[in-house]
């Protein structure tokens, strides 16, 4: 027994070492990029001159601090997704940042240097309206939070609540704004639509209502953007319908009506249909705001105005101008305005806020990316130079979520592509061959034309290779003479070429905002980007590689199907995945909603695979649809089947293609929606190879796998969510015949179900609601000891149902996503990649998920290397392929084979992107990283010299003997 245990321990320890990371491999072939999302609030730390901090809060519920010199993250806090983690407001004072989270539910104060939480206060429920810092006698002491029906005041240093007061008439009045000018009073502004404005005045010390008044304002529709408080408590509102500005001193008791100033008197006019926006600035919360403000009259027209002695005077008109923002440094407040320069560039200029005069030599030229979107947010960081003049840097956010940080005279300091925080789908495309490689390939591709020309061609290509090699050597020699730092292997789109093991690929990523990226998988450099305008939010994307790089000189071709979520109407975007350029191929118009797409192995004369699009009337559109393709489709139509899923009706239906590209329903499976709903349907990956058809048993017999390429895994969840009655259903359905091959039910289980369907197995994870834990279950299908037809699999001719084995295990952690490794020929053992909510990616050997794991060890199971069954799945940190480089909110894992059988390329995307390589069976086909060249060569040389010396000695000895 003891030796058995020992042997087991040895075999297990061998297993454990598989696919672990060595410390010296860190950063060698893996990289991580961290993102934050679309910036909603950004504040520069103006506390000290040397500060490099930039605090941002984003729509991804991320609160982070960026280094404004490099754009790197100092720290980042990722809150819960959804409305509970939504950041409502960001305020900053000194070293502290106050964040209101979850519709005003939580108030958090962060220390901004290291990113530590100072305090956290739970507020009463109620929908959040506004938050403001409140100063008393030049010191900011409190933070006020305005809810729909209450206002509360909190101490800034401890978070303790000073007072909370209910707002009067909160069921009719919409309170929206807080204002405090540092005079011991807090004003809460609310309004009743089309009726009047309500102003309530609170005492800071105890929250007593000092005054409450309502002022007639029949034109009022919203306070938020069209009103602002300026210059020691003057409420200023703008209205588009009456084309007027309205002012009202907040504190004075005698004013009971707003003073109307027609915009015409200022020679201004609001563009029709545009909601004018007022922007004021309050540099110090303990002091009243400035008298200057911006009024935006149309999308590209701003004007700087000033309120002086109850009169409004324009200081400067910016027409046209895209964006305008205030910034303060010390005592000086400036305004930065972005104006269009020409079609491709904008210029940003600095103006003094109190006079409107332009500062000299402050122009920053901002070059717009021709493949990007328009700028839509401008954040200004002003600072005092040594000569007391104001310098500034700007951060521009564009529609396609690019953050660009610029300094004078237009140098881009850094750039962040925040669209990548929301990758929807991706593909990896092989890089093209270099010219010489292509030449060689071309030699084999062409048809033979006689012996002599072939020989000549061969010689010429060899010569070209020699030439390339010489050039390479020369370059090496040339680079070696230069200092190390100046030699940089910059990856550009022109130097891209496939490496010898095809480890470097092009990652084509599609983001939710409609921006496409081409990223070099080796370094993570963005090589091209393309912003698709007019993409509706929540669109569904499907990326299809129609032609790979293997068909030189035809360029590779990717097709993106963009489907509107509501209407289902789709459009196609065809592009070259290596260069990101749009292909000028006529795409078919899709007038009807697209239900399903199908990539056929049929290729046209240009080697592009044919894409079939099925619309809601079951009509099929082929792309490309040349004569050649249609001819081929007619020939193969009888063997083209596809399936449609209608989860709202619980219907799965199978169709067959007819010769005239119409379709014919051949089967239908209805899963009653009253009991359960279809949550996911997945087939097997098309590019998957299975190397062995069976498994050798301990008694040398073979158990053949049931390798049905048409098998669909359908996962259902019960509509009843009670923990005793909920269940998860698994159906394995043949996609051609509609036959249910297998059916399984997990009782007392609920989703979310993550699953991988591959080879002859299906692995799924569900939540066991009885035992409150995650469980893995594995289904494996076998044909048995004999193969029915070993050469060809046909769904129509498989009389015997497969044998199904199943086993379940406890997984002691929650799961965010699941994927399996994939290699070129499928020889390497498979691993499952499990994304954990903590951000780690666990590489779990499939060996642990084997339904043949025995409960009792026998000679045969040992022969087969089966691990004895243990209910709990191990999690070891050595199996984390991304060590401490955690990936926040893992959304998907993409695996791709490389040219090496041992190596699988892995891209993990979520809020961050992480790329690495995994070796599920270790690197058996290349020399390891730690291969000891020194030892081998020293042994070789040692032996060589030893033979030389001993030879010499032997000669001497022979000579001596001869003399004797």
């Amino acid at each position: 027994m003891a030796w058995l245990v020992v042997r087991l321990a040895i075999s297990l320890s061998l297993l454990y070492t598989a696919s672990a990371v060595f410390e010296d491999q860190v950063g060698k072939f893996d990289w991580r990029e961290q993102f934050i999302g679309k910036v909603r609030f950004a504040l520069f730390d103006t506390h000290s001159q040397a500060s490099k901090k930039l605090l941002v809060a984003t729509d991804k519920n991320v609160f982070a601090s960026l280094n404004s010199r490099t754009g790197d993250l100092f720290w980042r806090h990722v809150d819960k997704t959804g409305p509970e983690g939504h950041i409502d407001a960001l305020l900053m004072y000194g070293q502290d940042a106050v964040v209101v989270v979850g519709n005003g539910r939580l108030l958090r104060s962060w220390e901004t240097t290291v990113g530590g939480l100072k305090w956290e206060a739970v507020l009463d429920t109620g929908s959040f309206q506004a938050a403001a810092l409140i100063g008393v006698q030049d010191f900011v002491k409190y933070v006020a939070v305005l809810k729909k029906s209450a206002i509360s005041l909190h101490d800034l240093s401890s978070g303790s609540q000073i007072w909370v007061e209910n707002l009067p008439d909160s069921d009719t009045v919409q309170y929206q704004t807080i204002y405090s000018g540092g005079n011991g009073l807090v004003f809460v502004l609310g309004f009743v639509p089309s009726s009047h404005i309500v102003i309530v005045e609170y005492k800071i010390e105890d929250g007593e209502i000092m005054k409450k008044k309502s002022v007639e304002a029949a034109w009022m529709s919203s306070l938020e953007n069209s009103c602002a408080v300026i210059s020691s408590g003057n409420l200023l509102c703008v209205d588009q319908t009456t084309q007027s500005l309205y002012t009202l001193p907040l504190q004075s008791a005698e004013h009971t009506e707003m003073r109307q100033i027609h915009l015409q008197t200022l020679d201004l006019e609001v563009a029709s249909g545009f909601q004018p926006v007022l922007t004021s600035t309050q540099p110090n919360p303990a002091q009243p705001p400035l008298a200057e403000f911006f009024l935006q009259l149309s999308p590209d027209h701003h004007i700087l105005l000033q309120l002086k002695d109850d009169l409004i005077a324009p200081l400067r008109d910016f027409n046209p101008s895209y964006l305008a923002a205030f910034a303060t440094s010390g005592e000086k407040t400036v305004a930065a305005v972005m104006t269009p320069k020409n079609d491709t560039a904008c210029s940003i200029n600095l103006f003094s806020a109190d006079t409107g005069r332009r500062h000299l030599d402050t122009t920053i030229i901002y070059h717009m990316d021709p493949n990007g979107g328009k700028p839509n947010r401008l954040y200004v960081h002003a600072f005092l130079k040594k000569d007391d003049s104001v310098g500034y840097r700007v951060m521009v956010q564009t529609e396609d979520l690019t953050l660009t940080f610029l300094q004078q005279p237009g140098r881009v300091v850094w750039m962040r592509e925040e669209a990548l925080a929301d990758v929807v789908t991706m593909e990896m495309v092989d890089l093209p061959l270099t010219g010489t490689q292509a030449e060689l390939e071309g030699e084999f591709g062409k048809k033979a034309d006689g012996l002599l020309p072939m020989v000549l061609k061969r010689l010429s290509s060899q010569f070209i290779l020699l030439q390339a090699w010489m050039a390479h050597l020369w370059k090496l020699f040339y680079d070696a003479r230069k200092p190390r730092s100046s030699v940089k292997n910059e990856v550009t789109i022109d130097t891209l070429s496939r490496d010898e093991f095809n480890l470097q690929k092009m990652m084509v990523m599609v983001t939710a905002s409609g921006k496409l990226f081409g990223i070099d998988s080796k370094s993570g450099t963005v090589l091209w980007k393309q912003y698709l305008e007019d993409i509706k939010p929540d669109s569904i994307f499907k990326l299809i590689v129609q032609r790979t790089t293997a068909h030189f000189p035809h360029p590779p071709q990717c097709t993106l199907l963009i489907k509107d979520k509501d209407t289902g109407l789709g459009s196609l975007y065809v592009f070259n995945p290596i260069f990101g350029k749009k292909s000028h191929i006529s795409v078919p118009a899709l007038p009807r909603p697209v239900l399903q797409t199908l990539l056929l192995p049929v290729i046209d004369q240009d080697y592009a695979k044919v894409l079939l699009l099925i619309d809601d009337q079951y009509k099929v559109t082929a792309f490309p649809s040349t004569k050649n393709v249609l001819q081929q489709l007619q020939d193969t139509a009888s063997s083209v089947f596809f399936y449609l899923v209608d989860s709202s009706q619980g219907k799965l239906s199978g169709f067959r293609l007819r010769m005239d590209l119409s379709t014919e329903l051949i089967w239908e499976v209805v899963i009653p929606t009253e009991v359960q709903k279809i949550v996911a349907v997945k087939g097997k990956r098309a590019n998957e190879h299975v190397h062995s058809q069976g498994r050798v048993m301990g008694d040398r017999s073979v158990l053949y796998k049931y390798l049905n390429p048409n098998l669909l895994a359908v996962i259902t969840e019960s509509t009843d969510i009670h923990q005793e009655r909920s269940f998860v259903g698994i159906f394995l359905i043949d996609g051609v015949t509609g036959r249910i091959v297998h059916e399984a039910v997990q009782r007392k289980a609920r989703g979310p179900v993550h699953f991988v369907h591959s080879e002859n197995w299906l692995v799924y994870v569900y939540w066991n609601s009885k035992f409150r834990r995650n469980e893995f279950s594995v289904l494996e299908l076998f044909e048995g000891a004999e193969l029915y037809n070993s050469t060809v699999f046909s769904s129509l001719d498989r009389p015997h149902p497969p044998q199904v084995l199943q086993q379940s295990y406890i997984f002691p952690a929650p799961i965010s996503t699941l994927e399996a490794t994939l290699t070129e020929k499928g020889i390497t053992s498979r691993h499952l990649l499990v994304g954990l909510p903590s951000g780690s990616i666990l590489s779990l050997p499939k060996m642990f998920l084997d339904p043949r794991r025995p409960e009792l060890i026998s000679e045969q199971s040992r022969e087969e290397n089966l691990i004895p069954y243990a209910p709990e799945m191990p999690i070891r940190t050595e199996w984390f392929i991304n060590y401490n480089q955690t990936v926040s909110r893992v959304r998907g894992i993409y695996t791709a084979p490389s040219g090496l059988e041992s190596t699988c390329l892995v891209v993990v995307y979520g809020l961050d992107i992480y790329q690495t390589r995994v070796f599920p069976s270790k690197q058996f086909d290349v020399l390891k990283d730690d291969y000891d060249y020194v030892l081998i060569s020293s042994v070789l040389f040692g032996l060589f010299f030893a033979t030389m010396i001993s030879k010499r000695l032997a000669e001497v000895k022979l000579l001596n003997r001869a003399w004797r």
Binding site: W75, L106, V114, A744, F771, Q806
Partner: protein, 277 residues
């Protein structure tokens, strides 16, 4: 240890059964749920605590709080990339600069609370919250899920050490190679075989003489029988006469040849011959 193994085995049987039955699509099996014994339940009432409230539907929402500690490390150095996670990232909390944390608005249920930090490892804790908002903490046991091993509440999360992500490389060191018993066993005889004759055959006559002398010194006690002779004597059959003679001769030879070297070797050969008889 014994009990643990048994429980694992039981659970595995149960699971197997479960899986098998489930796969056959039979009716669900009724595994008796182990009810918690009342004396185990010493619920902590959070009435006095802040953060508890009821939703308009009457469901309770409570705040789970505790402290996390990494001994020997300042909190500022590790909290900026640590998070408190309840059941994955269903509920998220952050750690304060004093090591305390709280997760707000958690509805009733049973949750696994863990502190996720890329550097430090913490043991997860199961937190149970009743419908009235009372809560307790216990050790996470995924196999016997109803086993209650109480932990203090508010939670005390203590770091269990840093994460080990890397496995060490197998390095090749000369001393390791040389100290290998196999290598030692091979190298030493090799040295003897190769070097000794070289030393012996040195053509310097003086050296030769010295060697001989030293050999004699070694064999100074001529009366002492040779080891080989003893062995042969022991193993050879008693009827053999030649053996005794040979042995005697050898002894004589040894005594007679003060010059050592060759004669001595001959005597050895004699013994060998005797043995072969």
């Amino acid at each position: 240890m014994e009990t643990r193994v048994r429980s694992r085995a039981c659970a595995c049987v149960a699971l197997l059964l479960f899986a098998l039955r489930a796969s056959l699509g039979h009716e669900h099996i009724k595994v008796q749920e182990e009810e918690e014994t009342p004396e185990d339940v010493k619920w902590r009432s959070p009435e006095e605590e802040q953060g508890k409230f009821r939703t308009p539907e009457g469901e309770v929402r409570v705040q789970v709080s505790g402290r996390a500690l990494v001994p020997g490390v300042r909190t500022q150095d590790w909290i900026s990339n640590a998070r408190v996670l309840l059941d994955g990232d269903a509920y998220v909390g952050f750690i304060r600069e004093d090591g305390g944390f709280s997760v707000s608005d958690v509805p009733s249920g049973s949750y696994v609370l863990e502190i996720s930090s890329p550097t430090y490892r913490f043991q997860p804790v199961r937190v149970d919250i009743t419908a009235t908002g009372k809560m307790r903490a216990r050790v996470v046991d995924y196999i016997r899920t109803s086993a209650v091993t109480r932990l203090p509440y508010p939670l005390q999360m203590r770091c269990a050490g840093p994460h080990h992500y890397f496995i060490p490389r197998e390095t090749w060191i000369w001393s390791d190679f040389l100290m290998n018993p196999m290598v030692l066993m091979m190298v030493l005889p090799l040295l003897i075989v190769v070097l000794l004759p070289k030393v012996m055959n040195s053509s310097d006559p003086e050296m030769k003489r010295e060697m001989e002398q030293s050999m004699n010194m070694l064999n100074s006690n001529q009366d002492l029988p040779d080891v080989s002779e003893i062995v042969t004597r022991f193993f050879s059959p008693p009827k053999s006469h030649g053996r005794a003679g040979g042995g005697a001769r050898a002894t004589v030879g040894g005594a007679a040849s003060v010059r050592g070297g060759a004669p001595r070797r001959r005597s050895k050969m004699n013994t060998a011959v005797t043995y072969s008889e």
